[in-house]
Symmetry: C2
Subunit: 124 residues, 2 copies
DNA sequence: CAGAATCCATGAGGATACTG
DNA sequence: CAGTATCCTCATGGATTCTG
């Protein structure tokens, strides 16, 4: 298993990404507290604003709006508004977003599998 | 490839992790700005404090200390101090940390591959 | 070298209220 | 329903100084 985990520095000889490069920016978007949850939530299929609020428990409207805008600007999330009253908007992963999800989900699974053992069943 | 990306909710029927559960806590540790960089940096082998500072460009001493402590408390990073003068301390991944790295590195690779196209070659 | 401790600024992020 | 706007708090995180 070593050949897939110890070669990442070949791509980034300058360190773990030079500071202030595009990788760092994208990393912050993708790895942000809410970005991860929104992206993974959307792997379940297109969802509406209120769905996402329910899925990503604890997210505020401000953060949801901000997160969705960032991910949309990055081309990871697609926003589809229907001009009806009351308004209806669906969010979904773009092909690029789905591609990202394929490497993101294994990480989330790992966290889910190990969280209780590492952190403890309840934070209290 | 669908069967591996659309079933994550089976494990977490309550949403994308209920708020304030152990998964959220661990997720924040692992996905934190500097946590990722330190963990991935250590996939390259054991490293000293000053190595890590150089690898994770832009990290402050405070953040490096804080990050390492969290990751060590989580059992992801091993700290080995040699009682010599001047002090020498080596950090490395624990088996658990290596396990995590195997799902983390593909994500980092993805970010490295797509960052320029998504964000733009220079943030300026 | 490998940190600990302190101070301080910024902005991430929450609560609330309002709108189309 | 799907947001926007505003205010405000507190924690992230940088800079600096000190120590074993």
């Amino acid at each position: 298993m070593a050949e897939s985990t110890d070669t990442i520095f070949e791509q980034f000889p300058g360190g773990v990404f030079p500071a202030a490069c595009s990788s760092r920016v994208l990393l912050d978007h993708v790895m942000s507290k809410w970005g991860v949850l929104v992206l993974v939530s959307l792997t379940d299929g297109p969802q509406r604003w209120s769905d996402l609020r329910r899925r990503a428990q604890g997210i505020s409207e401000k953060m949801l709006a901000q997160t969705l805008k960032t991910l949309e600007a990055d081309g990871l999330v697609h926003r589809e508004q229907q001009p009806v009253m009351p308004p209806r908007v669906d969010y979904s992963l773009t092909p690029l977003g789905e591609d990202l999800a394929e490497v993101l989900v294994p990480l989330l699974r790992w966290v889910g599998r190990n969280a209780d053992a590492i952190i403890g069943p309840a934070t209290t």
